[in-house]
Symmetry: C2
Subunit: 347 residues, 2 copies
C-alpha cells in the first residue's frame, strides 16, 4: 500500500527546493530544463502526484464542477451527463454529482452542500427551482449555467434547444400532414422547455388556422402522461384527436403504449404521435417515433464554453441565452405529408 508522497519528499530526492517541485507541476512556471528533469525523475520514482485538494485550497480553484440533476429517468439526461463529464474531463475538470430529487432532502440542503465543496462552477439540469439555486450560486460568486432550462428575467446563462422553433416545426409538420384535430400533452409547467414548446406549437397552429382541440398534462412523468392519454383518447371516434404532440419522448412512449395496447388504436393510421428530444428509444423500431432532436453534443459544447467564460473572467462575462436549433426527425409514428420523404435513421 503506497504511502502518500508529498512534493517535499520529491524535492529532497531531487535535491531541490519544494517550490521547485511545485513549479514543475504548474503549467506556466519558469524552471530550467535541468531542474525539470531532476524533479520529474524523482517524482516518477516515488510515484508522486500533486494533491488536487491542497492545490485547490491555496489557489482557490478546485477543478470541480457541481452538476445538480433532478432525475435521470428521462434518457436525455444520462446521455447529456456522459457527454458533459467527458467534455469537462478533457479540460481537466471533473463532475461532482448532486441529486436534487424528491428523496434527497430539500433543495436548500443541496445548495449548501454544493457551496461547501468550493466548486468552480455549477451546471443545473432538470432541477425544480432552478432559478432560486442559480441566483444563490451567483450571489456566492459561483458561475452557473442552466442546461436544458431557461430563465426569462434575470441574467442567468442558459443553454437549451430552440424549443419555440421546435414546437413550431411540429405544428407545421402536422398541419402539412392534413391533421384536423390536434392535441397536446404538456410537461411540467414550471419548465421553460415545456412552456416554449407549447407556445411555439400553438403559434404555428394558429397561423395555420387551427388550434389544439385537446390538452392534457403529463408533467414529464410516465404515469401522468398515460393518464392524460386515456382522458384524451378514450372517447368516441369523432371526438378523438387525429394527432398529438407530446412534450417529450419519455412521455410519448407512454402515450403510444396507451394508444396501441390499451385503446387498440393504430399509430399513425388512427393517430399521429410526435415527441421531443430524440432519445435513443425513439429510433427503436417498436416506437419509431417522429420527434425533434435535441443536439446533445452541441448543447454540451455550448454549456461548457459558457461556463468557462464565466470561470475565466471573474465578473465581466455577460450572461447569454443559447438556443440550439434541432431538426425534425421524421420517422413512422406520424402520417407523412404528401411529398415528404421518410427519413431513414441510422441507430
Amino acid at each position: 500500500m503506497a504511502e502518500k508522497v508529498t512534493s517535499l519528499q520529491v524535492a529532497q530526492r531531487a535535491g531541490v527546493s519544494q517550490s521547485a517541485v511545485s513549479r514543475v507541476f504548474t503549467p506556466g512556471a519558469s524552471v530550467s530544463q535541468k531542474t525539470q528533469d531532476k524533479v520529474r525523475k524523482a517524482a516518477a520514482e516515488l510515484g508522486y502526484r500533486p494533491n488536487v485538494l491542497a492545490r485547490a485550497m491555496v489557489s482557490g480553484k478546485s477543478r470541480i464542477i457541481g452538476l445538480v440533476v433532478g432525475y435521470l429517468d428521462n434518457y436525455f439526461y444520462p446521455e447529456a451527463l456522459e457527454k458533459l463529464s467527458n467534455a469537462l474531463q478533457e479540460r481537466g475538470y471533473h463532475v461532482l454529482i448532486f441529486m436534487a430529487s424528491r428523496s434527497a432532502g430539500n433543495i436548500d440542503t443541496v445548495m449548501e452542500e454544493i457551496l461547501d465543496y468550493q466548486v468552480d462552477g455549477v451546471i443545473l439540469a432538470s432541477v425544480p427551482m432552478s432559478s432560486d439555486i442559480a441566483t444563490r450560486c451567483q450571489q456566492a460568486g459561483v458561475p452557473v449555467v442552466l442546461f436544458n432550462r431557461s430563465q426569462d428575467a434575470d441574467g442567468i446563462t442558459s443553454v437549451t434547444s430552440d424549443n419555440y422553433a421546435g414546437g413550431r416545426k411540429v405544428a407545421e409538420f402536422l398541419l402539412a400532414g392534413g391533421h384536423r384535430r390536434i392535441g397536446y400533452i404538456a410537461g411540467w409547467q414550471g419548465a421553460s422547455t415545456q412552456r416554449d414548446r407549447e407556445t411555439g406549437f400553438r403559434a404555428a397552429l394558429r397561423e395555420g388556422g387551427q388550434d389544439i382541440v385537446a390538452h392534457g398534462t403529463g408533467e414529464f412523468h410516465t404515469e401522468d402522461a398515460r393518464a392524460a392519454a386515456r382522458t384524451m383518447f378514450d372517447v368516441s371516434p369523432d371526438l378523438r384527436p387525429d394527432a398529438v404532440f407530446v412534450a417529450n419522448d419519455h412521455m410519448a412512449f407512454a402515450v403510444m403504449d396507451v394508444l396501441r395496447f390499451e385503446l387498440g388504436l393504430r399509430v399513425p393510421e388512427d393517430v399521429s404521435v410526435v415527441g421531443y428530444d430524440d432519445v435513443p428509444p425513439a429510433a427503436w423500431p417498436a416506437y419509431n417515433l417522429t420527434t425533434i432532436r435535441q443536439r446533445a453534443n452541441l448543447m454540451v459544447a455550448e454549456t461548457v464554453d459558457a461556463l468557462f467564460d464565466h470561470i475565466d473572467s471573474p465578473s465581466n462575462a455577460t450572461p447569454r441565452k443559447v438556443a440550439i436549433d434541432g431538426p425534425l426527425i421524421v420517422r413512422g409514428s406520424a402520417r407523412l405529408p404528401a411529398g415528404w420523404a421518410l427519413q431513414r435513421t441510422v441507430t
Copy 2:
C-alpha cells in the same frame, strides 16, 4: 456577491476561539450550549459554512467517492447512479464522476486523476479493465468496490446480482415452457456478469437434457446484438431457435426489433425472448420483456455498506463478494409454461 466567510471571522464575531467554531461544526465534539449558541448565531449571520476542502486536507477524509463508469447507455446504470448518489448523499458523501469510455483517454489517466482527488473510496461500474484499476486503487490504499462486476481471484469486494442463479432460472423457465431449440446471445466476455449468466444458463439447460443450439455475441452493444440476431434467426424455419436468452435487456430490445420488424417473426409465438436486468423499458408494453430483475436498491445498499466498512476500518475489513438473488419477471415475450401465471407488472 457574498465573500468567503472563514471560521476565524465567525469566531471573532462570536467572541470565541477559532477552534471553538470548528468544534461546533464537528459532530462528536465537546462544546457548551452557550458557546454552541453564540457560534451558531454568528455563523448564521455571516452565512458561514465550513470549507470541505480545508477539512479534507487536515483530516485526510474528502467525503468524495470516485465513481468510474464506462458508459450509461445500458439503462441499468443511470438508475444505479441515481440511487448510489442518493445513498451516498445521505451519508454526507458525494460522487465524483470519472468516465472511462472509449473517448476519454486511457484508463491510466483516469486512475491517476482519481487518486489526485484524494477520494475516500472508489466504485467501479461497467468499466473495462476493472481488475487493473481495482488493484491499483488498493495499492494506493483507497477502498474499492466493484459494482455489477466481479473478480474471481483476488480479494476485491464486489456486488452483483446472482448471475449464475439468474441464468439458471431462465433456463428452467424456458425448459418448462417446452422449448426445444434454445439460443443464447452473449455479452462482452470480459465481464463476469456475462460469463456467470451463461454458465448458469447452460448448466441448468444440461440438467434438463438440452444444450444451446445457437450462440451469438452481442458484446452488450445494440448493433452487435442486432447482427447476432440476424445470423441466428435468418435461417430456414426448421433450423431456427424457438427461444433465445439475451445476456441483457439492452440487447434484448434490439433482438426483438430484428425478430419482429426485420424478420417478421412473432414474439413469443415464433420465438420466446428473455432478457436480464429489468430496466424500465422492459416493462413498456411494446416490449413487455420477460427478464431477470437486478435489484438495484439492494445492490446499491450493499455497495455502500461494503464501501464504508472498508473506509471505516483502515485495513481489517475483509473483502466480500455479494451476489443478490433476483426474481424472474414473467411478462409476455416468452411462451408461458403450463400452469405459470402471467405476472402483471406495475410500471
